[in-house]
Symmetry: C2
Subunit: 211 residues, 2 copies
DNA sequence: ATATTTTTGTTGCAATTGCAACAAAAGAAA
DNA sequence: TTTCTTTTGTTGCAATTGCAACAAAAATAT
């Protein structure tokens, strides 16, 4: 996996670039409303520190987390497709965010700063990473049986490594949400799969048997 | 929707740029194998003319189309997440494709050609477009009921316009594939929805009633 | 015009899942 | 420790869906 953590952000010298790219830094307090989508604003948000969630609120008032944002994450209107629902960004902790004017990035850099191309490369990497995550989720959701979704989830998490087990970074409740299935049905299926000796379960570790 | 058709491709003057970016043009005949994913090759493919499909072949030998590529489309390893399956690009017609070396794009342009930034901007637009499409699909697949998937599909297709009906660009068989549901179940649900006066169906046109 | 392929339409039945409801266990807060 | 909250575990039942199998209609090819 690519790493775009806090260190690289400093490398970008975003602040230094503010004379060639339109960058604004804003601070938000916990629970504050950051942005709403759907207007196709030509702005990219860039989390410098803190945590935020992209959440969707359906017409019947239910909220679901689309993506969790941590330092290094970016967000933009690529999520605005959630047509009839509303998509917002809400800070979960105190948060520092850069807003970068999208179209200006590609203008020839007037001061020929060495960071300009780095910024672009970095943005492209982040977007590509988002893309990969989106395709992973699609891969999981194209399966309509819970068992298949679990297996897809495991093998995606394992990835190219030759491990045979994964450890959930969150609760089964949250796994159910990610897989878009009912939690109790997920537990039932996990139990079945263990009985059929397809997987082994210890705490939050799932091991693929006879793989 | 953004438009990145044949005209813009010429604007890019990709051929002119081959002295600053590593571009190779290749021709493929109908049915030919173009590329396989999973190697995280740092290459972007760019369809100049013709049609191709990104297809996935599951371990049990079934093939499914991930994305249809037309002139202006790009493809890269963002699809390589399909971990245990194989992903290929196959030409459906005679096809001209540019392969652009990914990392080199971001190096400072040695000849300061005016097209370099245009290329980057264009690529970013295309990737963003892919991203939007992916999120649309996720939005549909997060619903587990066929009815909800149909309604999500309709409202996404309608988008921001204030139309109340859509016309399918393909068969119901293909719609079922896109929605990841059984075709006969889709037909059954459409019939139900018509009986309950939620939609109206005429040929391939679906109209949302009392919306 | 005729033959062939693809799409549409329909249905019974079995399998899978979501839902509701509850209790136990684990973790966090007071 | 004690209390409160979240997570895990379980089950019956109803609803939804996939599957299989078939016939009619439409589209395409010969």
């Amino acid at each position: 996996m690519l790493d775009h953590g806090q260190k690289k952000i400093k490398d970008l010298q975003l602040e230094v670039m503010s004379n060639c790219v339109n960058i604004k830094k804003k601070n938000f307090k916990k629970g504050e409303y950051i942005l709403s989508f759907g207007l196709r604003q030509k702005v990219i948000g860039f989390i410098l520190s803190g945590k935020a969630d992209i959440i969707r609120i359906t017409i019947d008032g239910e909220a679901s987390i689309i993506q969790k944002l941590t330092p290094g994450s970016i967000f933009n209107d690529a999520f605005s497709c959630f047509s009839q629902d509303s998509v917002f960004v809400i800070s979960k902790t105190d948060t520092e965010i850069f807003f970068i004017d999208y179209p200006i990035i590609f203008k020839n850099c007037p001061v020929k700063c060495p960071y300009h191309y780095h910024l672009i490369e970095h943005l492209l990497n982040l977007i590509t990473e988002n893309n990969i995550k989106a395709n992973e989720k699609i891969e999981i959701l194209t399966h309509n049986k819970i068992r298949d979704r679990i297996l897809a989830y495991i093998s995606i998490t394992i990835g190219t490594s030759n491990a045979t087990s994964i450890t959930l970074p969150y609760s089964f409740t949250e796994l159910a949400e990610y897989l878009c299935v009912d939690r109790s049905s997920l537990m039932r299926e996990l139990k079945k799969m263990e009985e059929e000796k397809i997987i082994k379960r210890e705490n939050k570790t799932l091991t693929l048997l006879n793989a």
